[in-house]
Amino acid sequence: MHPAFSVVFFTTATGAGYGLLALLGVLGGLGFIPADFWLGLAGMALALGLTVAGLLSSTGHLGRPERAWRAFSQWRSSWLSREGVASVATFIPATLFGVGWVFLGKSGGWVAVAGLLAAAGAVTTVCTTAMIYASLKPIAQWHSRYTLPAYLIFAAMTGSVLANALLQSFSAGSSAILELALLATLAGWVWKLATWRYNDQLEIPTTANTATGLAGGTVRSIEWPHTEENYLLKEMGFRIARKHSAKLRWITQALAFVVPIVLLILAFMAPWPLAAMASVLAAVSQFAGMLVERWLFFAEAKHTVTLYYGRA
């Protein structure tokens, strides 16, 4: 599948944004993170900024962005529509929570309710994003039991690493958040390795035989219907060389998992402001790593239409 940057950035940014929003909603709403104006403002600006930037970026993928409002209508059948509805609905409790927690300096009571609702909305939105991909049967690498947990784990991971960077920057770091960020990053690494392992051993029942209805033997493409690349090949026939794929997997692991883990361990031991710098660097490195991961998520996904073109 063609890795359009607008979609790569969209899924990575909203994952991190909703992860952070969910953590702030729960921890801030229940009073585990004390209501502090500047910390709260920076946190909510970061969380909502990432989600808004991501959602705006996703409209860059559209052929007719001016009609994007129509995408809220088909939530009964379409995961993309559900994502649109969930993402916008989440802004309502998120805004209320932001007003209560940041501007009124409150936690508990209605602010806690709004925070918990915002967190629930954030988790729901991430699930709907994952299901857009997980529901597509022609792409076996996405239509697997790994996709939905991956999106949730990565949102929790990038969100908690961001939350830690935020708290450390305001010298309000807690070892609990640091531990959460570290554990989530480890979980993300394990899940990504398991997913790659699964995808590499994937045996897809759909072949050139079932695609053409020609039973038995081998079906070899000897002539395409066109001489130039068409929409299908540009959009669905994207190929990545195996050697680049292997290299990019190492880069993903280094930037998204190894470097953040090392820096987070450093943050445990180092005094402020070193701990804050390590925490911020961990978040930046992980975000860059997740952009590479998401690029690979698209580039390594194979669509059944490529079977018609002899690209197994």
Binding site: G63, L214, V305
Partner: protein, 244 residues
């Protein structure tokens, strides 16, 4: 609505005979010619005379070499929308632009509602949908909805343009939901198959597999010169004289 109708009154579709298709591309050009002025018009071409010609086509003919233990054969394979009974291209549509008609089962796109998110083309395993980069919306085969019900056309012309154009009658159009229809009978008789049935989209269109090889023709791998029985009579005399 992108929810699918529980059932459709008819299941209009195509049956394509892979035995008789000669890969002449007449259906491809007839489709383009009709539809670039039809329901989903225009079928935009980008840089048509340049080095990177690209454009929207609803019907594309591939050629394959099918090799089995019986030998190899070339199979020309027209590929277009199969008007599935459970088309994921419709249910994934966030705007309601894609829909399946309850009356005849045709899958269509309302171009005025399409936002060009391309998700339907990802959801179609057959590559039936092509994005028009110029107009910014998705386009697909309409089963020539503007021909098959068109009172201005002579009755025999009320078939999809690809079917009307086929010089070998490899393309057939009709109601696959009616077991008594000629097209259903043809599928029954020839053992028509659905494409990628394992994915569960329940395509309406059927493909008739190439007929089994006959043993009547001479084997192509027979020795070039076979000893022949000596003829008697006049021809035998000619043979003997020429052999000297």
């Amino acid at each position: 609505m992108t929810c699918l109708p529980a059932q459709t009154d008819k299941k209009l579709g195509l049956v394509i005979d892979l035995d008789t298709c000669v890969g002449c591309q007449a259906c491809v050009t007839a489709c383009k010619e009709w539809n670039t002025g039809g329901h989903m018009a225009p079928l935009t071409d980008v840089d048509p005379y340049g080095g990177h010609a690209d454009g929207v086509w609803f019907n594309r003919v591939h050629s394959y070499e099918h090799t089995t233990e019986l030998g190899g054969r070339t199979v020309n394979f027209p590929r277009s929308c199969l008007h599935c009974e459970t088309p994921a291209c419709v249910t994934v549509c966030p705007t309601g632009a894609s829909y399946k008609r309850a009356s005849d089962g045709i899958v269509l796109v309302d171009e005025d509602k399409c936002i060009g998110c391309k998700l339907c083309s990802w959801a179609c395993p057959y590559g039936a949908r092509e994005f028009d980069t110029d107009v910014g919306v998705m386009k697909k085969c309409t089963l020539c909805v503007d021909r098959i019900y068109n009172d201005h056309l002579a009755e025999e012309d009320r078939v999809p343009a690809c079917v009307a154009a086929c010089p070998t009658s490899a393309r057939h159009f009709g109601d696959l939901g009616d077991p008594a229809s000629a097209i259903s009978q043809l599928v029954e008789e020839r053992g028509g198959v659905a494409l990628m049935p394992e994915l569960g989209y329940k395509p309406t269109n059927r493909y008739l597999p190439p007929r089994a090889r006959s043993e009547r023709a001479a084997k192509v791998d027979a020795p070039a010169l076979q000893p022949i029985k000596a003829e008697g009579g006049f021809l035998g005399w000619v043979d003997r004289m020429l052999s000297n």
